[in-house]
């Protein structure tokens, strides 16, 4: 085998925790960045034999941009056998942590794709989310990134934020159209257990309002020339995130760093969270394992595949549990033929469709 071609590295440091965030995050403790990086590289070395030439690298967090270009460069150089010539190297960037020079430095260190966590351009929504960046900083970061020579710039946005009116959504849409990045991820805000938003009793918006917002986002971005290639992801043709597509195509991937998840040859494991323990483990972090049998894999492939715009490749996915329901889906205009794919309407209700086709026992 050629080995794993997708690498994820989790870089957990953040200045503070945002109100909606449930990721493995380490607030403060920036003085441990080098020690942490040493441990990450040690883990990378320990797992080296699993890797092939890498097609994609994703530096996620936390706030990877807090690691500074020097460390990012060191990390990328530590990868063996190394990156393919046209490898995609994405990095998450928080607007308030970067300026022109910093972005150029990341680019020079080998980052090809800047993913900027904007969330919204509306001050009151940024406040509601406890974000560190102002609307101006968000816009500036995107513009600087576009100027810094990345192959692709992506921005993350949210809908369903408490207090977000249809007018607020339109305002964000207008800025996105104006900035016109290659890629947009537009997620619905989830109120996750344990977050500040949950603690203060934030309720999700009502079903109809959230459906309208979602459909509006899809309509507008398609209209602006983006491909709605995944449930929450939009790209100008050719600028899809190859790393994420790796996940959605159920490829193997190696994840390193605190809380990182890997899936390699039917085994999935998750590193423990906690930076101190991770550093102490020096490349041998404690892990929890999950064995995935072929049946589980097949269910996951279907779950992931229906998120995508591309045709449904039954030969790759395996038979669905209820092929008899294809007809029902066709009758109701949720499935297209030649090639077999969810229709546009079908994609809006993909979760219902999935339950009709597959058993999740």
């Amino acid at each position: 085998m050629t080995g794993v071609r997708h690498l994820y590295a989790h870089l957990p440091f953040c200045s503070s925790r945002c109100g909606y965030c449930a990721f493995v995050v380490e607030t403060g403790g920036l003085d441990r960045r080098d020690a942490y990086l040493d441990a990450v590289i040690a883990e990378l070395d320990a797992q080296e034999q699993k890797l092939g030439e890498l097609d994609t690298v994703y530096l996620g967090g936390g706030t990877p941009s807090l690691m500074r270009a020097r460390r990012i460069g060191r990390l990328l150089e530590s990868i063996h056998p190394g990156l393919a010539a046209d490898a995609e190297v994405s990095m998450e960037i928080n607007p308030e942590t970067v300026d022109h020079a910093a972005l150029r430095a990341f680019r020079a260190a080998g980052v090809t794709r800047a993913s900027i966590g904007v969330q919204s351009f509306q001050p009151h929504l940024l406040a509601a989310l406890d974000r560190g960046a102002s609307a101006e900083q968000a816009r500036a970061a995107v513009e600087c990134a576009q100027d810094a020579g990345f192959e692709s710039v992506s921005i993350d946005l949210l809908f369903g934020v408490p207090g977000q009116t249809p007018a607020d959504l339109e305002a964000d849409i207008a800025v996105v159209r104006e900035l016109s990045p290659e890629h947009v991820s537009w997620y619905e805000l989830e109120i996750k257990p344990g977050t500040a938003l949950e603690r203060i009793g934030t309720l999700p918006p009502d079903e109809d309002a959230s459906a309208e917002a979602y459909r509006r986002v899809v309509d507008v971005l398609e209209d602006a020339g983006y491909r709605w290639y995944e449930t929450a992801n939009f790209a100008r043709p050719g600028f899809e995130c190859r790393h994420s597509l790796g996940y959605w195509h159920a490829h193997d991937y190696l994840g390193i760093g605190v809380g990182a998840v890997s899936t390699v040859e039917g085994r999935r494991w998750r590193n423990a969270s906690g930076v101190d323990a991770y550093v102490a483990a020096a490349g041998q972090p404690s892990q929890t394992n999950e064995d995935l049998d072929e049946d589980l894999r097949r269910r996951e492939r279907w779950m992931l595949a229906l998120r995508l715009e591309e045709p449904i490749d039954i030969a790759r996915l395996g038979e669905p549990d209820h092929p008899e329901n294809f007809d029902l889906l066709r009758t109701h205009g949720l499935l297209d033929d030649e090639p077999l794919a969810l229709s546009r309407e079908g994609r809006f209700v993909q979760n219902s469709v999935l339950h009709r086709l597959m058993e999740y026992a």
Binding site: E207, Y247, R299, E300, R307, Q350
Partner: protein, 608 residues
């Protein structure tokens, strides 16, 4: 336990509206006669099943023998025969009464006479019992003993002064009750020399001993392990053990004329020996059975389906086990297109249905769906034959029907005068035929003949809510009557759903159909496509609603670290659906939808 001579036997029962204190009084009597010593005294020893205790209802009558030395210095054998307290079991009540010579008529001094007080009183008078009126709960601050004493006295035709005033809770007046039993209840009059006749007034199934019947020896005696013959069914069997309940089973080897006790039969099927039948000796048979035998027929039917189809065998096992103890429960396999494999079950009444269902769910841990309860219709076809129909699906095509008859019941409702209008409105809505009205104490007794089908829907709930809980209801079967009935079908996404069909009066069909589709629209969640809901009669759509399609159903973001979690979320969604939803054709229908057909509420009939 020593026998006494026939002159010193008293067979009696306690009749009371539910909660008026029958069980408490029974406990007191046992305590006072030292049958149960204080230490052993469980609360309400006569109710054996936990569920019944919780609901405060006694389903199975039992007989308890106590010895009491009266003020006259003589020892008496008192046989207390417990009676079921609910209208569903009125036949069983009547058999219990037939085993007695007297009855304590217990009325709550704070409540006064209720519908079951009346119903049971009439039954007791019909059975020629000596009635001893007792006002209970005089310790309650809200008690109005004088007021209610006058009313009871009038009801039984006695002097108000003769009404005993007691508190089963504090023990006040219990001895007077025992003395009255000794003084006023006549001893049994059976002929000791005649061929043996014993009335079966109850039966239970014991896991270890098989069927145990409770009998009252009317003539002759039972002695030893004799061979017995049930006169109505012809069944013969050996008495394995004879004895009395104290309330523990105590073998006595014999039961004499006038005594009550139990017989262990060794039979395995409760259905083989019927309550109301007469036992005689195979070797010396009586000529005529005791009067009053009636086969108990189920009056209310519904389909019971496991929510999870895999539970079908477990449901069958559970029904088999319940039937061991409940001969009046009948069931047969039924297949529904919508609900899969299940059973059509017949019950004595609504309460019986509720109890069975609850026991199945609780004791056997089953999740069940019940279809709309039905009564048994009698359909006369154009070919002239008569066909009983208990399921809407079995109704012949309209062209093959000459006419349909449905069972009616005579309902006796007792309410404070202020609510007479509300009750009459309800009865009128439910196709009631006014029979009469009579003042009883401060209240009105209203009689209506109503189609049983209307009573088994939500009549009782409606009655309670329209009278703020003040109304009490009793009913008895009042024959079959011809009615213009039609089958109302429900279609989901164009497909008829058999489990939602019902048989309704033609004039109510439109309102019912409309109400039903509205309720279904509220209960059925949005699906990935639009779901039309239609009500139809004979192919003609009479009402329509639509459940709109979902506009969005996606799992939010999903990245590499998230796959297992998202998959588990799907598993939880699926699990939740499996619990709550039934696939009916292409539509996912929550269980509550099947209950929707049960509730017609205030407007189900009136907005014609």
């Amino acid at each position: 336990m020593n026998s006494v001579n026939q002159e010193h036997i008293r067979n009696f029962c306690i009749i009371a509206h539910i909660d008026h204190g029958k069980s408490t009084l029974a406990d007191r009597i046992l305590q006072l006669t030292n049958t149960v010593d204080e230490r052993e005294m469980r609360e309400q020893v006569l109710d054996s099943m936990d569920l019944e205790r919780e609901r405060g209802i006694t389903i199975k009558a039992q007989a308890v023998r106590v010895l009491y030395t009266a003020y006259d210095g003589q020892q008496y054998q008192l046989n207390l025969i417990d009676t079921p307290g609910h209208v569903d079991f009125s036949y069983e009540v009547s058999r219990s009464l037939a085993a007695c010579e007297g009855a304590l008529l217990v009325v709550d001094a704070s409540q006064g006479i209720e519908a079951q007080t009346l119903a049971n009183t009439y039954l007791a008078l019909e059975a020629d019992l000596e009635l001893i009126p007792v006002l209970n709960k005089i310790d309650l601050p809200a008690a109005e003993p004088e007021l209610h004493a006058r009313a009871i006295a009038e009801l039984v035709g006695e002097d108000p002064a003769s009404v005993l005033k007691i508190s089963a809770k504090t023990g006040v007046g219990i001895e007077e009750v025992l003395e009255s039993i000794v003084t006023f209840v006549p001893p049994p009059t059976g002929d000791a020399e005649a061929p043996t006749r014993a009335l079966i007034f109850d039966s239970v199934y014991d896991q270890y001993r098989g069927v145990v019947v409770f009998v009252r020896v009317v003539d002759g005696a039972l002695d030893g392990k004799v061979n017995l013959r049930a006169m109505q069914t012809g069944l013969t069997f050996d008495a394995e053990e004879l004895g009395v309940m104290t309330p523990e089973m105590v073998p006595t080897g014999s039961l004499k004329t006038g005594e009550s006790g139990y017989i262990v039969t060794g039979l395995k099927d409760l259905g083989e020996l019927r309550v109301g039948d007469t036992l005689t000796l195979s070797s010396n048979q009586a000529e005529e059975a005791l009067p009053g035998y009636r086969e108990v027929k189920p009056m209310v039917f519904c389909g019971l389906f496991p929510v999870d189809g895999d539970d079908y065998p477990a449901l069958r096992d559970a029904l088999e086990k319940l039937s061991l103890n409940d001969a009046s429960l009948v069931w047969e396999p039924e297949t529904s297109q919508a609900l899969g494999f299940g059973f059509r079950c017949g019950f004595l009444g609504l309460l019986h249905m509720d109890i069975v269902r609850e026991r199945l769910e609780r004791e056997y841990d089953l999740d069940l769906l019940a279809t709309t309860p039905n009564v048994q219709y009698q359909v006369t076809t154009t070919r002239g034959d008569m066909k009983p129909v208990t399921s809407p699906g079995d109704l012949p095509a309209p062209t093959e029907i000459e006419f349909i008859e449905e069972p009616y019941v005579r309902c006796t409702i007792l309410v404070p005068k202020d609510y007479v209008g509300a009750v009459m409105g309800l009865c009128q809505d439910r196709r009631g035929v006014y029979v009469g009205m009579e003042a009883i104490e401060q209240r009105q007794q209203i009689s209506y003949d109503l189609p049983l089908a209307e009573v088994v829907l939500d009549f009782f709930d409606q009655l309670k809510s329209r009278t703020r809980g003040y109304a009490s209801l009793d009913y008895e079967l009042a024959g079959f009557r011809e009615s213009p009935l039609v089958k109302l079908d429900v279609l989901l996404a164009g497909e008829p759903v058999d489990a939602l069909s019902m048989i309704v009066h033609r004039e109510l069909a439109y309102a019912r159909g409309k109400h039903l589709v509205e309720r279904l629209r509220e209960t059925i969640p949005r699906q990935m496509f639009e779901v039309p809901i239609q009500a139809a009669i004979g192919g003609k759509i009479i009402a329509r609603e639509t459940v709109k399609a979902k506009r969005k159903d996606v799992l939010a973001k999903c990245y590499g670290g998230d796959v297992s979690r998202k998959r588990k979320l799907l598993e939880r969604q699926k699990e939740g659906k499996k619990k709550r939803m039934k696939h009916v054709g292409s539509v996912e229908v929550p269980q509550e939808a099947f209950l929707a057909v049960l509730e017609f509420g205030d407007d189900g009939n009136s907005d014609k």
